[in-house]
């Protein structure tokens, strides 16, 4: 099987890779590019652990082919902080203990970032429905919702 040559932008950097036509973007990120912050929980688009932003759209990277990233912009968890400065969502997840095992955390952070980009002042219900595509088995979501609420108010004030 011949590889597909892909030229794309990941977290602001130009990246080129060869991938198989049936290889998912999640596999490319994790296995070819070493970006293992994006997690695989199901491989079928049901858990949201592999959430990334593709051209301003929140997607499950397990449902996108590596070849589809050609010419597009990919944002992953590795690009969320600026150097030493954490994104307010990252900071608030830490302060509120919005993670226990942490495997779902990258997906939640990406999904929450997308949510706040589209709705900077969400109600609790809007947060709950906005994050309903991401599964967390540890926290019962309480502290995640509070962290997102707190981050939203910090970001609005900034």
């Amino acid at each position: 099987m011949a590889g597909v040559a892909v030229s794309t932008t990941i977290n602001g950097d130009n990246v080129e890779y060869l991938c198989q036509p049936d290889e998912t973007l999640l596999e490319v990120l994790r296995d070819r590019l070493g970006l293992t912050g994006t997690k695989e929980g199901c491989g079928t688009g049901d858990c949201g652990a592999c959430s990334i932003i593709l051209d301003s759209r929140l997607v499950c990277s397990c449902l996108v082919l590596g070849a589809e990233a050609e010419g597009r912009r990919v944002e992953t968890i590795e690009g969320m902080a600026h150097g030493e400065r954490l994104h307010p969502l990252q900071q608030k997840f830490l302060e509120h203990a919005a993670l226990q095992c942490g495997i779902c955390t990258p997906g939640f952070l990406i999904a929450a970032k997308d949510l706040l980009a589209k709705n900077p002042d969400p109600t609790e219900e809007e947060i709950r429905f906005g994050l309903a595509g991401n599964l967390c088995r540890c926290t019962g979501y309480d502290k995640i919702v509070r962290a997102v609420q707190d981050a939203a108010s910090v970001m609005k004030a900034a």
Binding site: Q20, G41, D46, C47, Q100, R137, T139, Y141, D142
Partner: protein, 754 residues
Amino acid sequence: MGFDPSYLHRNFTSIGTRPIRPDGIDKVTGRARYGADFNMAGQLVGRILRSPHAHATIRKIDTSKAEKLAGVKAVITAADLPDLTDGDSAMYDILDNCMARKKALYDGHAVAAVAAVDARTAKQALKLVKVDYEVLPHVTDVDEAMKDAAPLLHAGVFTEGVEPRPGKPSNVPKRTQYGHGDVESGFGQADFIVERSFKTEQTHQGYIEPHACVANLSPDGTADLWVCTQGHFVYRQHCAQLLGLDVSKLRVTSSEIGGGFGGKTHVWAEPVALALSRKAGRPVKLVMTRDEVFRASGPTSATSIDVRIGARKDGTIIAAEATLRYSSGAYGGMWAELGAMTAFACYRLENVRTVGYEVLVNRPKTAAYRAPSAPMAAFAVESVVDELAKQIGIDAVEFRIKNAAQEGTRSSYGPIYGPIGIGPTLEAVKNHPHMKAPLGENQGRGMACGFWFNFGGQTCTDLNIGMDGTVSLAVGTVDVGGSRASLSLVAAEELGIDYGQVKAVVADTSSLGYNDMTDGSRGTFSSSMATISAARNAISVLRERAAQMWDIPVDEVAWEKGHAIAKGEKHGNLGRLWLKEIAAASAKTGGPIAGHSELVADGAGVSFATHICDIEVDPETGATKVLRYTVVQDAGKAVHPTYVEGQYQGGAAQGIGWALNEEYIYGKDGRLQNPGFLDYRIPVCSDLPMIETQILEIPNPNHPYGVRGVGETSIVPPLAAIANAVSNAVGVRMTHIPMSPPRILAALETGGKV
């Protein structure tokens, strides 16, 4: 280590604070490494072939075509994992579960495995392995499996615990019984008796991270295993025994763990990965798919439970009995036994008897799931308790308070209780504003109690003081939800230094003595005991070094708030020596400064919780909505209260999923029909309200700070609390979990008569 009463009045400086966890930053930036995030040079990809049949004899496996496929480096079957268990039947079951030997016992049972250069080749190779099955009749239902005519899973199983020993084999490996008093005479004195039967369906722990490992076995008999596990020392023991390795030559490193809840307490695929590596001569990475996780790992028991409770007019429970049948999957376990032990543990009972039956079915081997077996028993018992209170005409909370176990009560499973929290959690619930909030139409409120034993176990910890006075804490209990933060707090508290000066890590199996796994809510309980002990040992070294530096006798040196002080007027001019100063001088005073501890953390204090839940039921669709949820639980002493709350909330959420929606659905062919998160739906953010918590602190007399385990009890009351809430909302007693919309509609239509 006993509780030090002086701590009751002690002003803790670190314990009870809520700092950010040390492993947090790696987890919010994607840098933390979980099971599947690790790679070794030259590694192969391993995949497992699984039985499509619920029950089948394996006549022959032909691997020749798969072996010839380009890129395939090893194909293994049970023949490559010879039986080295030497009569250890529990280990034999684990071996047979890792790779079926003569029969496939459930849909998803491993029968062969391959290692290839990439995932595509490995997948292709699986299709080329030809297995000749003779399909056998199967049974997946717990009650059906107990019938005489049921297909037998193992011809050599005769029920233990029955006198005389049965002459015929069955699917019931074990009967257990607990209790005291004279139950029949008790029921004779009862004015009210409620008797009901209940069923609960099988659920999965549902950790988001699938099982994953990287194994490397060298020809010289040394090996490395990187794995997500709740207990890397236990995995080392299992793998070494199954592979015939020397324990000390297998180094197991626990990765960050993406959830376990009991499901990562024994090996599944790790011995297979090691066997593949041995045959291929290269490292092998093996990651389960979600489908495999559901079909072949976890789950908890499905149950069928009868409960009968009798009470006097004044509201005193006079007799109680339960018969509990728990499916244990294809291999025996102690699941019904745990159900039988916990069923009535909340109450002070004169006459009580519980009988448990372990039941073999063609389903995956049952694994522990957070307070294993207790939620189902509590569901049955607490439902009957509620109904009995109604019949007597007494408030459900008052009825429980009147009959609650106390210090000195002989528990239904044997031991006499010390100071316990059941009464205080009930009093707190009685006074909680949640209990007084108004309810609307189609809404119901329920409450229920829960109990869990908690566990201590073998624990080993190292505390090393660096030359700059900072502290490395190496523990052997895997951190499943923030224990590195709580243990750092404990080390800081003992040494009298800042939390930020302590760095806790989970050490690999070659760097620390044996530790039991993180189960039984023991992580913080047991490792904090070992950390306190290690810190006190380090303090005695620090005092000796200070004595040397001052040239005074060591018993004239005390340790206070992070520094040594010389006791007595005669040393008035010596001032104090800070930890940092003593550490800096260590090379000249005797070398590195460390404290070590190895102990069996006996005396895990039992744990109780009471939950309140409000539910709204749509009578047209049977759909439910959790409106409000409150958890009240005794923590003994909350080391890091935020993570204690997190345990309360997480357990409640899992219980809510179990109560309302989650279940394994098997087809007539014995195959699992919903092995994915789309059809096995765990609660999502929009399904739940905020989960209110109240932490009570009734000190555990066996821990220096009074700490009790907090991880598990929170999953025990939800099934019952929600069933009571739904029953109160619809006016029909719910007896089958999960209370999914079809079951609620059916109950509404039949008025509860199934």
